[in-house]
Amino acid sequence: MVCVWNALLAMKLKGKWASFIFGLKGQAKKAQTASENLDADQDRAALLEGDDGDAKLINKASENRDEPIQDRTEGPTPFEAVEWPNIGTLPTIEEAETFPAQTSTESGRHVIDHELKVQEMGMEHDDRLIVNYTKLQLTQCDRQLKEFMQLCPGVYGALISTVDGHELLYTLKRDLPAHKISTMNSSLLALGESIARESQQRLCQFVILENSDGRVVSLRVNDLLMLTCISSKEINLGMLLSVGRNTASKLQEILSD
């Protein structure tokens, strides 16, 4: 196994390391959609290996590329490679990675899903986000999401996304369309805030979707970001809101620089 790991590092496989490890060749070969697809593995590899020292999470450009990448990184921080504690075993649900385009099935196996359905057909502006966070910040945010999931076992999805609908980081225990959820919740949060204003009330704190078998709660982190929590009815609403608010506050602190 150590030899396998060394071989991997030596080869710097960027697209297929997971499928290599898990033997999921077929899924690794899922056809990529048109050039607008996020190439999650490339980004992930860049994140892992710090290829260019750039700590910014960058989405692949869409067709309508008008602007060059805005590199606003200040003093890039090299990112240390993730250590795999048990290289010979499959990671468990609790260790689910929180990078874009990565989901875990209900069975707990990690699956790298190459088939991101980006629906923009050349209509969108450059999809590269201009939010400027270091890898350290993102790792800390990732940790917060994991802690949140641990504190609230009924929660099966936590997403950090931009207020205009782009997903940034997420942790999901089910196969959910993170992109769609991020987009739709951005609309919902904005509507909630507008309704609050029109009702002469301030500071919309939560937008809560109460469904028959679960809840979706969205709240703002800062001017640019929001947090969405998806849970079953297992967890008490009060607890969900409380932990959610605390998590958002911590995220705000982490990202306030």
């Binding site: 008008d66 629906q119 057909m121 205009d164 609908g165």
Partner: protein
């Protein structure tokens, strides 16, 4: 009384919110948030749910003026907003890289709605960028076997927006 509405759509920055503001009896309720992608180079904020304006008729009936988000990832909102709509106003920003393609995308995405109602097209910022010309837009529509009204307008100008509505109403009256 069922609410009726006109829908304003088009790519980001085309002037939908502005056009609604030009004729709405109150400043439109907007759901604008900061842009975090390449659009930020063009516009600081973008609509993520809808713009909402209104006019009230003499019998008290309200006509909603709804602006859709421009990005296609919000297509689910387009489908929600067109329900019960009287007609569509597509605003196209002539400064964009390929405004004809933009127009085609909106005509395709709203094809069913246009078929049951009608559409009028306003080209904004043609004073800032002359090509494509209105003639080019008409050639483009002709190539698609479509005949729709297309005019150069300033979304800030109430008379221009009213002219679009006048044209749309005439088309609806005839159909």
């Amino acid at each position: 009384m069922k609410q009726i509405k006109f829908i304003f759509t088009g790519p980001p920055g085309a002037g939908k919110t502005t056009a609604i503001a030009a004729i709405s009896e109150f400043p439109p309720v907007s759901t604008d948030v900061f842009s975090t992608d390449g659009l930020a180079a063009v516009k600081e904020k973008t609509t993520v749910a809808m713009d909402f304006g209104q006019i009230t008729l003499d019998n008290g009936q309200k006509i909603g003026l709804y602006g859709t988000p421009g990005q296609q990832r919000f297509k689910f909102m387009w489908d929600i907003l067109v329900q019960g709509g009287l007609g569509l106003i597509v605003l196209v920003d002539n400064r964009r890289a390929d405004p004809l393609k933009d127009l085609g995308i909106y005509l395709d995405n709203f094809a069913e709605f246009i078929k049951s109602t009608d559409v009028v097209i306003g080209v904004t910022c043609s004073d800032l960028k002359e090509t494509p010309s209105i003639d080019d837009y008409q050639n483009y529509l002709q190539a698609r076997n479509q005949v729709f009204p297309v005019f150069a307008i300033d979304a800030r100008n109430k008379a221009d927006v009213l002219f679009l509505l006048d044209t749309l109403l005439t088309c609806l009256e005839i159909s």
